[in-house]
Symmetry: C2
Subunit: 314 residues, 2 copies
């Protein structure tokens, strides 16, 4: 169910005349992603991925597409958009903005070992370092302002205890001042399904459509919560330590980041609790979202609050 | 004998801190190439090739390095240079200009089938099309002016018959006017050792250091002579037809190119006869060149002259 706009081989053959990627030999839909139509495209030059954008508009896309091109040419294994004969990445196919990208091998993991968490930490650090020279700017669309706007909307759906925790959490973040943290381009959604592996090596970092400018430490916290949380929301210390040490080895964390870490882990948990509540209770008409359990991130948030300064660190 | 400037793992580890390619796990010299020092570099992100330039200077390199970056992002499987933290491709290591590039799998062929020659023709057409939007300019350094300068230098080493053929050939090209041919960036050296294959699919186009602006048809002629010549210099018709048809399907050849074809095949043969004579008889002190037999291209030239307008075409 993730090809919303169909593409025929004849349509694609005509479209590929704008490119220098050889002749089409295979086209099949990819059953992943809920926002775009994705296809595996095989040509005489090799394999590519065709993406037709169903939500993002033509005006919004250059930030993401050029970010991927920038990171790819710095050695980050993310989809590298392919330029067409007019030297443009972004085209149009069947009425949708469309991009052809390099194909990345590998598969996402259901469970990650500490070694694999270390690979994720190192890759995230390299991504942050490579992003430093990226010139385009876009604010993280799911930052504190979005938390404050979204919380009142989901509040009616919460029980008393969760409502109190949410209110208290917003007060806590309002009072904490983390503006001095090192900032840059962040992925902001580096969950397991967005990282491809072959054994312990990362072969792909995908889905940059929540990327934006924010505290780099926020990205570390999002990633740590996603990769190192146990079923009860607590942290797996070995995995967390492996991820953080590997990150720190490539981009050393600063003193101000050290001080901000407990608050950042809570903020990163809050963001996904809120978005999952919103997706569950307030889906927009016609919007396709994979509904995920909000309680997972409520539990992660609660455990981060309880752990306080006793959180893993380097 | 193709690592002229050694690099230790310690030196490379320090140098790679300028990049976002993970941590070094392997370094070995590559025993190919006579002009540069090449190394296979393995990091936690995958495999790369490190090139230290021994002949070309820092000022000469941007044309080639940016050309490869341009073609790679258009889907041509050539080495994609990796940008460092300062967003630059070109660095310096052990006193040499140095570039880190993507690693390309595959191996060059000793003999090519017609299907493989077709793949070469199609790839060359795509390369020419993708090069159309490349902005930097550099004249082909081995064009007609270089022929006229080089011929007198090698003349003393030729026997009477070859000397007559060379003089006559220079007169012929002086009298032919091919200025109106479509021009663009050409590879200009697409011999078998510069194309990597996996089965019938091209996985790599390498060694762009003779690239420049010239007639696209000249590149087709260089490539056809290199891939489709028999031992006696004559053309293998099946291979030649396969290469030309595949090229023509992606970049249709024009009427003026049709008219210029026999002369272009002769010029492309002359260029390599001259350079091989020069490398054999007039090596520069300290220069490393793999000396190849000039007579192979004398024979190719002779056979193209004899064939005249009866050459394969589309």
């Amino acid at each position: 169910m993730s090809v919303f706009t169909p593409v025929t081989p004849e349509q694609l053959t005509a479209w590929l005349r704008h490119f220098s990627v050889g002749t089409l030999s295979g086209l099949e839909g990819i059953a992943e992603g809920v926002e775009n139509s994705n296809f595996l495209v095989t040509t005489s030059h090799g394999r590519f991925v065709l993406t037709l954008f169903e939500r993002l508009t033509r005006d919004e896309l250059p930030f993401y597409v050029h970010l991927m091109a920038h990171l790819a040419r710095h050695g980050i294994p993310c989809p590298a958009p392919v330029a067409n004969r007019e030297n443009e990445y972004l085209g149009s196919l069947n009425g949708r903005p469309a991009v052809l990208s390099s194909f990345l091998p590998g598969a996402s993991l259901l469970r990650a070992t500490p070694a694999q968490c270390a690979a994720v930490g190192a890759m995230l650090a390299d991504l942050h370092v490579a992003g430093h020279s990226y010139k385009q700017r876009l604010d993280n669309p799911r930052g504190p302002r979005w938390w404050r706007e979204t919380a009142p909307k989901v509040m009616p759906f919460l029980d008393e205890a969760d409502r109190e925790m949410l209110k208290e959490e917003l007060r806590f973040h309002h009072a904490s001042h983390l503006e001095d943290l090192p900032r840059g381009v962040i992925h902001a959604d580096l969950f397991r399904d967005n990282v491809l592996f072959e054994a312990d090596r990362i072969t792909g970092i995908v889905d940059f459509y929540f990327a934006g400018q924010d505290a780099l430490l926020y990205d570390v916290a999002v990633t740590l919560n996603a990769w190192c949380s146990l079923d009860d929301g607590g942290l797996d210390d070995a995995s967390a330590q492996a991820l953080l040490n590997a990150y720190h080895a490539l981009r050393p964390l600063t003193r101000v980041e050290h001080l901000g870490w407990p608050a950042m882990l809570r903020g990163a948990a809050l963001r996904f609790w809120l978005s999952r509540l919103h997706d569950l209770h307030l889906p927009r008409p016609g919007e396709m979202v994979r509904v995920r359990n909000p309680e997972q991130f409520r539990d992660i948030l609660r455990r981060r609050i309880e752990a306080g300064p006793l959180l893993p660190w380097v």
